[in-house]
């Protein structure tokens, strides 16, 4: 997805203004002139300055047929666009549901789903998903002691 320099510059400039305004609300360090606000102010000024330059560059290079946002080839194709969105959604689902459902069932489900989208045959996909999940569980949970969420399987396996 290509965003025009003018649009990107304006959005980033707005972000810089927000940082600058927010920085002024930070409390001063008692007895000192420079505290928590000093550095964010410098960063906001820097970001703002360069964003304006970017916007200026976009403005100079604009043409009558300039598109503000242009989608790449994959975004026009239904299947590849779907793959992209699904990958994002699956990660978000993992963040939201992993504690409740647990690593093992979620990981298998996510992997099988992604494999099928990529055209891997079902049987092969399920086998690899189960094997990968169990390998990660063994390596991270049992060897490295990372407390991967147990979720639904808490009662059954532990």
């Amino acid at each position: 997805m290509k965003i025009n320099d003018l649009v990107a510059g304006v959005v980033l400039f707005a972000l810089a203004v927000l940082i600058l305004v927010y920085a002024q609300t930070l409390p001063p360090m008692p007895g000192q002139r420079y505290g928590a606000a000093a550095f964010p102010t410098v960063v906001a000024l820097g970001l703002g300055g360069f964003s304006l330059m970017l916007a200026g560059q976009g403005w100079r290079e604009r043409r009558p047929d300039t598109r503000w946002i242009e989608f790449s080839a994959w975004a026009h194709e239904r299947h590849t666009r779907g793959n992209f969105v699904i990958a994002l959604v699956l990660i978000a689902v993992y963040v939201l549901l992993s504690e409740r459902i647990g690593f093992i069932p979620l990981s298998i489900a996510i992997l099988v789903f992604l494999f099928l989208r990529q055209g891997v045959p079902l049987r092969r996909g399920v086998t690899i998903a189960v094997a990968t999940t169990l390998a990660i569980q063994l390596a991270f949970s049992d060897v490295l002691r990372v407390p991967l969420p147990r979720g639904l399987l808490t009662e059954i396996l532990w």
Binding site: K2, Y34, G46, E77, I91, I128, T133, V146
Partner: protein, 496 residues
């Protein structure tokens, strides 16, 4: 002598040697697989190195990154797809050699001169780092302030397609570094009441996002992930390499030296080193007309350069805590976790670990020759691993890796957000490395800036009073001036 023996004792541990073998295999695989990079290999290793003592943890990173940079040559030569961006500069050349039936010579040159470049970079690291540390011991907040400024500027200056976009990327990184309690006043900033943000944004989670998730997203959005069958490699790989060494000694030394220097400059790593040295090789060649037709000279020079850069990048990382490339940005995070705070004092406090680390560098570059041979011979099998299966597995590793940093699903969210940001940035020509540099160096810059401002009571003249600070300050301002002048010239309307 005692230090050397202690270091040897640390390395000779079978566990450490086992880790070196394992991470070699991991690095070779990741490097050889298009779409997986050396930085990604390092970022994915971090959650695993958490649970290791310092020496094996660092050994794993050193070995995996060095191997991955070499292994990127393999699909470059056999498929015309670089395995990592560091091989991109000479991929066409290597593939042209393959088409001429010289795949063995191209890949052999890749492995042999990678090892030589890596060893050259290591020798510079071993000699320069302790000497620089002696000087750095006398540094105050003023010197560090200018040094960080200069480092951040280098990142933009060298890596630029567009200097403006580079600067914006850098300031975005500094913005991310503002989040949390880690500031001189210990005031929660940009946390908006979210407890998980109090500790700030974890750099490793951000990097897994920007370097791994962004790549996974790019892969799943591609129409076809299947790789074509690679060209076969059947002949002897090392035949003719000695002749090349005798024919191109200047190229080897020049590539290694430039590579080490570019590695040591903050923000620029193996990929930029290889582009620049491929260009110097062609520029100074006696047969520049042969470049692009399957001529090995450029591969010799830039193959040495990209591995020299891997070692060179550790110089500022160890001495100043300023990463030389994106891999050492991760390393700095790991050093802090292992209570080995980078800076000049590390050479005094933990000399045995530093010596052990240097030994690992030599070891990794030496074992690169047999392991590299094995990887080249198994190229067909490695490249037969279906990417449509691999990419979802990498995604799962990213999720678990991001979670393992602080055992919180919030970290996976951070990874996701940075993955999307990284994807968008790359699509729009913003370099990603300055963001990471900004995140890593933000707290250091702020601390030295605020301390210096308090010490000088707001007067900028104090920033130039000490001799080294003055020199660094003037250099930094000169670079900024040069960039501004260049920028203004670019703004002038072009006469029609």
């Amino acid at each position: 002598m005692d230090t050397a023996l202690a270091a040897l004792y640390l390395i000779a541990d079978p566990y450490v040697l086992f880790i070196i073998v394992l991470s070699s295999a991991f690095g070779l695989f990741v490097g050889a697989m298009p779409g997986l990079t050396a930085t990604m290999a390092t970022a994915l290793l971090v959650p695993i190195t958490f649970f290791m003592p310092p020496v094996p943890a660092l050994a794993a990173i050193v070995t995996a990154s060095a191997m991955a940079i070499f292994a990127g040559d393999i699909p470059g030569a056999l498929l015309r797809i670089p395995g990592t961006p560091a091989s991109a500069a000479y991929t066409d050349e290597a593939y042209a050699m393959t088409l001429k039936g010289q795949a063995e010579l191209a890949l052999g040159a890749g492995v042999v001169f990678s090892a030589i470049g890596g060893i050259f970079g290591t020798i510079v690291l071993v000699t320069a780092a302790p000497a620089l540390a002696e000087v750095a011991l006398r540094f105050s907040s003023f010197e560090y302030f200018w040094l960080v400024c200069l480092g951040l500027t280098c990142a933009v200056f060298i890596a630029q397609d567009s200097a403006i976009k580079g600067m914006i990327a850098l300031f975005l990184g500094l913005t991310v570094a503002l989040i949390g309690l880690d500031n001189p006043a210990a005031v929660p900033r940009f946390t908006f009441g979210v407890t998980d943000l109090m500790g700030g944004i974890d750099m490793i989670q951000a990097m897994i996002g920007m370097f791994a998730i962004a790549e996974v997203l790019r892969a799943v959005a591609a129409a076809n992930l299947r790789l074509p069958p690679p060209k076969p490699v059947s002949g002897p790989i090392f035949k003719g390499q000695w002749l090349l060494t005798k024919k191109y000694p200047v190229q080897i030394i020049r590539g290694s030296a430039i590579g080490t220097l570019i590695g040591a400059l903050p923000g620029a790593g193996a990929d930029i080193a290889s582009w620049i040295t491929y260009a110097t090789s062609k520029r100074f060649s006696k047969e520049p007309e042969k470049f692009g037709t399957g001529h090995v000279e450029g591969i010799v020079e830039s193959g040495a350069a990209n591995n020299a850069a891997v070692s060179g990048a550790w110089i500022p990382a160890l001495v100043f805590g300023i990463p030389g490339d994106s891999i050492t940005a991760i390393v700095i995070g790991v050093l802090y976790l292992k209570n080995l705070n980078p800076g000049p004092t590390i050479f005094l406090e933990k000399p045995e670990i530093i010596t052990a680390l240097f030994t690992v560098f030599f070891l990794a570059n030496i074992v690169m020759i047999p392991f590299g041979w094995l990887a080249i011979k198994s190229a067909k099998q490695i490249l037969a691993v279906p990417r449509e299966v691999l990419m979802p597995i990498v995604l799962m590793f990213c999720i678990v890796g991001a979670f393992a940093i602080n055992n919180s699903p919030f970290g996976i969210g951070v990874m996701l957000v940075f993955g999307v940001i990284g994807f968008l940035m790359e699509d729009n020509g913003f370099p990603v490395a300055p963001v990471i540099l900004g995140i890593v160096l933000g707290p250091m810059l702020e601390q030295n800036f605020v301390t210096s401002m308090i010490k000088s009571d707001g007067s900028f003249l104090f920033f130039f009073e000490r001799p080294i600070a003055g020199m660094l300050g003037v250099t930094t301002l000169a670079v900024w001036g040069g960039m501004a002048w260049k920028g203004l010239r670019a703004l002038r309307p072009v006469p029609a």
